[in-house]
Each structure stands twice: as structure tokens, then as C-alpha cells.
């Protein structure tokens, strides 16, 4: 039976293979999303009667992860912050439910912090895949 996927089941874990083999949870996340980006290779010609024709299997693919939440100062957040400052990639595993995970190396395209007086500091990050990504 198909059931709704709970947002709280979508968790991001990251790992720095240079220092450790264990993944740590990026805590504080309240909203996460991912999307596959596919470049188009148009091969339209005069015989297509004005309809664009795209070449299947061509063009580059990448995957983008976006997430935001409350900054808790966890190990995972620190690792992500340090990697973003150095422009280095990090191994990511985004768990979608108990049996599905998206895995690959990612680089932070952006990482922002926002802190309002009398409110909790929040952060938002966008990661772009830096190599092949698997989903299993």
C-alpha cells in the first residue's frame, strides 16, 4: 500500500571521507528539497514541423539539494559550513524514506545564515552534485 512520505523522514547526512567514514546528521532542517537538472540538446530540424526535438541521453545532468532550518551548531552543520568556506565537496546521503537514499558528492553553491534578535538563527543551503549521483 502506498503511503504519504513524511517530511521528517527526509534527512540529510554528510561525511568527510578525509577525516571519518561515518555520516553525521545535518540537524535542525525544517525544509528540504531536491531536483534533477538536465541540460537540453536540441536536434530540431526542418522536418520537425516547428516542434522542438531533444536528443535523449545527451546533455549533462546534475542534482541540486536545497534545505533550510534552525541552526543548532551540530557536527553536521559545522562540517557543512567548513566545507562551504573552503569550496570543497562533501559526501552526502539524502534519505527519502527507510529504503531510498540519494548519494553522491556535492559542493555548496550557497550557504546563508540569518539571525534576528529574539529569534533563533536559521540557515539555508543549496548543494550541487560534483559527480555521479545514485538513487537506491
Amino acid at each position: 500500500m502506498s503511503l504519504p512520505l513524511r517530511g521528517s523522514d527526509c534527512v540529510l547526512r554528510i561525511c568527510d571521507p578525509g577525516t571519518s567514514s561515518s555520516f553525521v546528521l545535518v540537524e535542525g532542517v525544517r525544509l528540504s528539497s531536491w531536483k534533477i537538472l538536465q541540460e537540453q540538446v536540441a536536434v530540431t530540424d526542418g522536418g520537425d514541423e516547428g516542434w522542438r526535438r531533444l536528443l535523449p541521453g545527451a546533455g549533462l545532468r546534475s542534482l541540486e539539494l536545497a534545505f533550510s532550518g534552525m541552526y543548532l551548531g551540530s557536527i553536521g552543520e559545522h562540517l557543512l559550513r567548513d566545507k562551504a568556506f573552503r569550496g570543497e565537496s562533501v559526501e552526502c546521503a539524502l534519505t527519502l524514506d527507510e529504503g531510498t537514499a540519494v548519494r553522491g558528492r556535492f559542493i555548496a553553491l550557497s550557504l546563508s545564515f540569518e539571525a534576528m534578535v529574539n529569534d533563533e538563527a536559521t540557515y539555508a543551503a543549496t548543494l550541487r552534485s560534483a559527480g555521479a549521483v545514485t538513487i537506491d
Binding site: S22, V24, L25, G28, V29, I75, N118, D119, E120
Partner: protein, 131 residues
């Protein structure tokens, strides 16, 4: 595990009782109590969770009663200052405790009251998070 509202109320009552600002701190308006006294009420509670941690956002009202308006004015300031150093205990971390409103009123011929409204955000204490 103790609930967030219980932890918050307990911490607040303990903090106020530590001081000698009030003759008592009550969960409901007492029939007979010596002035000045305080009444605590956690009215609204909503989920404030994030991945891996439960969280609660609680609206809390603290009503201070006194027959002397000048003393009440002093006590409300003192109480506000005291509550800035509130600690919700081992199970919950009090993330923010913000004054969202304050109003003074008086029933004709009766005592004065000052209602302090707070927004408290609590998140459960860390319990480990590695794969």
C-alpha cells in the same frame, strides 16, 4: 519524558519562588492569597520540531496581582528580569523566551493586575545523531 509545557511551568514557578517577589505562584486564580501574587498559565502549544528533534512553541501568560500599583510596577520589572535566565531543565532546552505583550488593568475597586505574555520555544535536548 516530561512534557515541554510541564518543564517550562515548573522552571518558571521555581524561578519565581526562589525570589521573594511574590507571596505565591499559582496555576489558577486563588480564592484567598496575600498580595502580591502571581498566576501562571500555558495557554497555546504548537509543534516546533525539526529533523531529529521534537520542539514546542508555547504561549505563556504570567498575571501578577497587587493592591499597590507602585509595588506591582517594580515587581513586574523584577520578574521580567528574573525570567531572562530561565532554564527548562535536562529534557528540554529553552531556545528563546520572548516577551510578546504586557498590559496593566484594574477592576473597579479591586486590585491591580499586570499580564505578561511570553512566547517560549523549546527543543528537546540532544540525543546523538550519527549513522
Amino acid at each position: 519524558m516530561i512534557s515541554a509545557s510541564n518543564a517550562l511551568q515548573g522552571a518558571l514557578v521555581a524561578k519565581l519562588n526562589e525570589s521573594s517577589l511574590f507571596t505565591g505562584v499559582y496555576h489558577d486564580a486563588p480564592a484567598r492569597a496575600l498580595f502580591p501574587y502571581a498566576v501562571v498559565n500555558c495557554s497555546d502549544e504548537r509543534d516546533w520540531s525539526c529533523v531529529g528533534r521534537s520542539g514546542r512553541e508555547i504561549s505563556l501568560q504570567l498575571v501578577l496581582w497587587d493592591e499597590q500599583p507602585s509595588r506591582l510596577l517594580t515587581r513586574e520589572g523584577d520578574a521580567e528580569f528574573l525570567l531572562q535566565a530561565l532554564d527548562a531543565g535536562l529534557a528540554w532546552h529553552l531556545s528563546t523566551f520572548v516577551l510578546t505583550g504586557k498590559r496593566r488593568s484594574r477592576n473597579p475597586g479591586g486590585p491591580w493586575s499586570c499580564t505578561l505574555e511570553f512566547r517560549a520555544r523549546l527543543i528537546e535536548q540532544e540525543n546523538g545523531a550519527s549513522e
